[in-house]
Symmetry: C2
Subunit: 432 residues, 2 copies
Amino acid sequence: MNIRLYNARILTMEKDRPVFRGEIWIKNEKIAYIADEDELKREWDGDFPKISWDCEMDCRDNLLMPGFKDAHTHSAMTFLRSYADDVPLQKWLNEKVFPMEAKLTGEDIYHLTRLAVLEYLTSGITAIFEMYLTPDTIAQACLDMGMRCVLTSGLNNFSSSIEQVEEEYCRWNKKNSLISYQLGFHAEYTTSKEILYKLAQLSHKYRAPVYTHMSETEQEVDECMGRWGMTPAVFLDSMGLFEFGGGGFHCVHLTESDMEVFRRRRLHVITNPASNMKLASGVAPVAEFLRKRIPVAIGTDGPASNNCLDMFREMFLVTGLSKLKENDAASMDAMNVLNMATVQGAKAMRLSKADVLAKGKLADIIMIDLHQPNMQPIHNIPKNIVYSGSKSNVAMTMIGGKILYHRGEYNIGESPEKIYAKCDEIVRRLTG
Amino acid sequence: MNIRLYNARILTMEKDRPVFRGEIWIKNEKIAYIADEDELKREWDGDFPKISWDCEMDCRDNLLMPGFKDAHTHSAMTFLRSYADDVPLQKWLNEKVFPMEAKLTGEDIYHLTRLAVLEYLTSGITAIFEMYLTPDTIAQACLDMGMRCVLTSGLNNFSSSIEQVEEEYCRWNKKNSLISYQLGFHAEYTTSKEILYKLAQLSHKYRAPVYTHMSETEQEVDECMGRWGMTPAVFLDSMGLFEFGGGGFHCVHLTESDMEVFRRRRLHVITNPASNMKLASGVAPVAEFLRKRIPVAIGTDGPASNNCLDMFREMFLVTGLSKLKENDAASMDAMNVLNMATVQGAKAMRLSKADVLAKGKLADIIMIDLHQPNMQPIHNIPKNIVYSGSKSNVAMTMIGGKILYHRGEYNIGESPEKIYAKCDEIVRRLTG
């Protein structure tokens, strides 16, 4: 497949490279060529090489940029959206989430994940960092729809096992370019020291990073202190889990010592501002992380706690909450936030080919419609995206060179209505 | 014009009335008939009266509800969007806003307001409470496009005058059902005691409410204390400004005494959470207002400080910031927020015919597309709207019985591209 995207504005997200006008050529799953107007003129002078294009899209001066990376989610939790809101985290987990989850099958998770993938596409999300019960059916849903997915295990005392994690790790890291797998566990408060010890051994065996929920609530930190006399990051690091990097999801309540672990181990913080607001967990000190040179990526968390899968909302919250927390309207400018939502997301997820738009990189590209009133006038495109952008501006979502979503229409081998109907059937069984 | 909206789910926003299936008939600018499936069957049994419909719309089980009321905005500030972000309020006003505003003409404001109206329509906003420099050209822009607008004066030491305010008040309150006018002034810190005294007299003469920016920043409150030994609400009330009600825009930093003024005078708080975040002004104690039975409406503020005009973002922030501030995930449930964004907005703006969907009320109606992944599954529609809704769910916006926006297409007598081009020309002149 050869695709040409022309008459575009382009934001590659390479460091210090501003928006330019030009075009992108895609061959199969990768970017084969990217050039600004001057280069195009200099190299070809209107006399392009003879390529038989499968698709040529006039971008009408709209913006091409790397797709967003949703660096923490539990996609299949779509079944709980608007079912159990307005309750605190621990109560929500114990009374609402766990009893319902006990009834879920792998096939349910397949269908519920597909519903989430539809939504990712509408928000320009081209890769997800996914932690949920049945990695195999999640991967199958993503493969069937063309979604890029990094799986991480939600290993804990009640589900999965070290053996299963190792088997999945080996299998999914060689199978398919859309799917990869990173070591992970649910959280310190759900996982025994014995399992953690074995996971650390696995990390050492494969020289692999480890990811987990961390310091989401004050209660979690207090209880970890009670158990081990250490905060979660310090305790987990003492177990040898972070010698090959990794990251923490949430990180709302990190101490100075925790941050020192993050800095020293080059761990990523994956911040989830909407979920942390909605569950009243707090506001992560994102500006402080950046001052300490701790890399930050952004996740939506699952649709039961957010409740939407919308990177535009998360981006505005990252900057807005930082301005409030720092009491400084200059805190956390738009380019910093865009960098978290794209480049840092890719780094956190170890997707080194999906970070920026450049020759040889994966063609995970979105088009932002600038011909809408919330994007006018065009003083500053990154600020427009972060401060006034919305999913309604996502005109096209391409993953691995395939256009999966274009102006409200999906190209995912299934009608959305059928996916809604299937999920509705599952929800009725679970709540019935 | 006779319009029939059928096969709909309907949320009238009448107290304690849940979503039902039914239809709405519109005659000219008003709702002529609204009924659920049982009533329809009982009254007509399939044999409808002979009405010659100008439009019959199959709503395909999507939701009809009252349009959102944006109860505080400065529409024409579109020209400053993404031009001057990441600076604190006073610096932003003095160094960025005021010098640019000095160059604005009434005709500029006409065109810049039209750009904002396009955006309101995409977000299901059917009425705006507007404070900006040239009320006449703002009103003309709204009349030309079919937008409902309540003007309020931004009277201060530098612009407008008591005489002008009185003339505008009398003229715009009899002229047209789309436009009305309420007394107002910019803020305590920009308006002399002499002007305030005269405005209070005007309020008494017409038995009219008064609206103003109030307690947006701590600095503003401190300076008012320094000048008058009183906080803004207490001082302004002592001047006799609130004897016929009215309201305050922002109200981030109200004291107990201020809240007592609001309660006693039945003033509306109009909260602007995104603007207050972005300018690091703080978080208004909205849950505390409700506990004290102070009515709350929601505004976007202008596009220079927000930067978008999107009621979905504001609604999520009202509930999310309240959960954070109260440290309680149960704080501020979705129906409370929807009530602020519709019924309370109408009350604050004195639009008594635009609050709920009922026979005889104005046909200011929006259709929310539930056939999108962020609205699935349908456990609870109000929660879906507030927690996972976005402007991409707005399928139709009707004001006074006219469909002005339908699935991405505008019916406002002008092409959006022409409005963008005109605004671009203005922006280039202003920044050139």
